[in-house]
């Protein structure tokens, strides 16, 4: 499948996570926010790093980390400069 136009981010939905999601017991809005930078900006990745840096990591690989955090991937918006994962607890 492809995005309607090159510039428009592309959405992929994880149906089996979305299907039986019940957030009755979710609470505690205030989030924990972690930012880990590996370079000052995308134009100066250190030598030896894959051309797209962290964006080269598959979403399946991130599933392991998110399991440790107690989150599941609901959907992913992929774009040229970044990928946005919507997660559920």
């Amino acid at each position: 499948t492809f995005s309607p136009s090159e510039g428009t981010p592309h959405l992929t939905i994880n149906h089996n996570v979305a299907a039986d999601l019940d957030s009755s017991n979710a609470f505690e809005g205030p989030e924990k926010l972690l930012e880990v930078w590996f370079a000052p900006n995308p134009d100066c990745l250190p030598p030896g790093v894959k051309p797209n840096g962290l964006k080269a990591v598959s979403s399946d690989t991130w599933v392991g980390v998110l399991d440790m955090v107690n989150c599941k991937i609901l959907s992913v918006l992929e774009a040229e400069h970044m990928d946005a994962y919507l997660l559920s607890e």
């Binding site: 499948t1 939905i13 505690e28 809005g29 924990k32 990745l45 980390v65």
Partner: protein, 411 residues
Amino acid sequence: SSMFVFPHKLILKTCGTTTLLLGLRRLLHIAAEHAGFPFYNAKSVDDIHAAASPYRVFYSRKNFLFPDKQPGPHRSWKEEVKYLDDTFEGGSAYMVGKMNGDHWYLYITSPDTTVTPPRTPDENLQTHSSKILTNTTSLFKGGLKNNDETLEILMTDLDPENAKQFYLEHASAVASNRLYSQAQEARKMAMGNLGDLSGSTITIKTNSTVESVADDTLDVFDNCSDSDLHSSYTPVSEQVDIECMTTEGHALGTVVSDACGLSEVYPTSKYPDARIDAYLFSPCGFSANGIIPAPQKQDDADAEKPTHYFTVHVTPEPICSFASFETNVPGGQNGRETSEIVEHVVGIFKPGRFSVTLFEAKATYGYDDDEIPTGLARKKRLEKIEGYRRVDRIVHDFDDYELIFRFYERE
């Protein structure tokens, strides 16, 4: 909860009783093993402890509403700081704002506060060292570009009327009314196209978007009354490709995002390629990520314009109502965009209290903030948010970052 992955950085934002810090070391290992970022604390990337050395780490959160419900290592700020100090060399922990009220915690490591890590682990070192050094700037040619600043708005005591929008029941009613009016539009359109059809029936094919239904595919509407039409009309699926046929949560998330005004923070009239991925949880709660590619104008096609992102999370229950909004605002603008974004977002939720934290990279040409017109203009604009009193303004002046924390209460 959300995660944003850029080539050079990762943002992970999780709510509820998630155990975010437990994923940190695995995340650093993935950066080394799957992206090739340098590591110095192990001999081989096959060593599960091999962890890429980050250039900088931020960890922050507002004070929890139910701290005793948090699992380790999030049971207290003290425990979180110990966990991070055990992981990184040279981190600093801060508490910002009223201790006996709403305050905000920050843990930060910065490239300047750490020594250059050993090129290869010392022989007598065990196979891996427990602490990870953050990377020195000498590895990087360019410093921080004066482009993006991170703006975060954390809101509590949401206006109950506005918070209703983030309940499944309310959103379903809005959605069906919206579909209903679409159905009516469709019927009017069909009637209009096909002239006087008294006595005949027309059926709209619902397996494609109404806009694309051409005359010859229209059979005939049943002679149904409005209410029949209402019940018989099945949702028109947006133009989607097969792989991401929507779900109810995503479809209602889109309805809510349009109805509450979130879609207008970065309007498609100005950002034609903007895309929002929104989800409405059952029975309530809302999350959305937005990616807004810079509009490509012919006259400044080569102008480096940042791609914007934003992420929103809403807990609407009155006992613990909370909403967060985070985005990157373009550096160097005159502060109008920042204050307009804050006013727009606060207008959606009408919170009783909210904080605005603005992280701005100090411009690489070394001025301090007061000399840059932006700082002064923005400072003035953010001092007055319609309907609110600015209670606190706290500035943390880091080496290459400035953090400005403002706290507001409804007048």
